[in-house]
Amino acid sequence: NIPTGTRKVNLTSWHHDKGQANLSNMTFSDGKLIVNQDGFYYLYANICFRHHETSGNLTKRGLQLMVYMTKTNLKIRRSEVLMKGGSTKYWSGNSEFHFYSVNIGGFLKLKTGDMISIQVSNPLLLDSSQEATYFGAFKVRDLD
């Protein structure tokens, strides 16, 4: 069975230049978006989870399908969850396919060197197509 309680996992294998992925004025390394310019940014993520009965039964316990966007600030060696979203789910056996998507977004102050990364629960259930699971950031304006 697919373990429901798999540990919260850091997602590192993102496309950053293929398909709809784009990167400019930010650096991408080891699954993290690194800020090059202080400013106010709009950060967002969309994560889709799915399960098909052909992948085996889910354990009877409920699932908690979650996404966390984390900021790592090397100067104070601190990681902080910026935003989170998700839902507990009861994906019973009698339906052949289950699907759930969560979207988070917010306008936040970022400094040069800040690193943005995504963690999810139950990575085995991820729908990793590019239109389903993605995250990003764009600078809206300078700091005051």
Binding site: G5, R7, K8, Q64, L74, K84
Partner: protein
């Protein structure tokens, strides 16, 4: 660059080897080596050619536990009773608040929630030491011990003190058959 590359050990002579400014308590800014703000404070103004960094104390419900150049303190987390959390350390301006799950539950990193402790089946008892906020560890009862209940708090009981219990049990019920058990 924001921070200078650490000097490679045993690097050869470099023409103008100035001591690196960037350290736990200092930062380089406008050509000077300035002092960071101590834990419990944030930096309301960076140093200039003529003035030092300006540090202000964190406000209520805020903390900063390192020397820093941050323009704001960090916000203490909430020990949310609605998530079965309780405060084990209120924290202060230099130390982050600590929460833990109420008895019978343990923090599960995966769901970011307090999950029921595992219930040890009959024949198993809880292992020691019992740690707050950690799941029960169920240990099979060794020879001479037993557990006839499913519980997340009970240990294996030793036969000896239970023999009396069995006897008293028999006594109570008046039948005088004695259980002979091979120890």
């Amino acid at each position: 660059p924001e921070f200078a590359l650490p000097q490679v050990l045993g690097s050869a002579l470099s023409l103008q080897s100035t001591l690196p400014c960037e350290s736990e308590q200092h930062y380089e800014y406008s050509g000077r080596c300035c002092k960071k703000c101590e834990p419990g404070k944030y930096m309301s103004a960076k140093c200039t050619e003529t003035s030092d960094s300006v540090c202000q104390p964190c406000g209520p419900n805020e903390y900063m536990d390192v020397w820093n150049e941050e323009d704001k303190c960090l916000l203490h987390k909430i020990c949310d009773q609605g998530k079965a959390l309780k405060e084990v350390n209120p924290g202060n301006s230099t130390f982050q608040r600590q929460c833990a799950c109420t008895t019978g539950y343990h923090w599960n990193e995966d769901c970011d929630c307090c999950q029921r402790n595992t219930i040890c089946a009959p024949g198993f008892g809880i292992g020691h030491p019992v740690q707050q906020d950690k799941d029960t560890r169920c240990m099979p009862c060794p020879r001479g011990y037993f557990s006839e209940v499913a519980s997340s708090t009970d240990e294996c009981k030793s036969w000896t003190n239970n023999m009396l219990m069995v006897l008293s049990f028999l006594h109570l019920t008046g039948t005088n058959k004695i259980l002979y058990v091979l120890i």
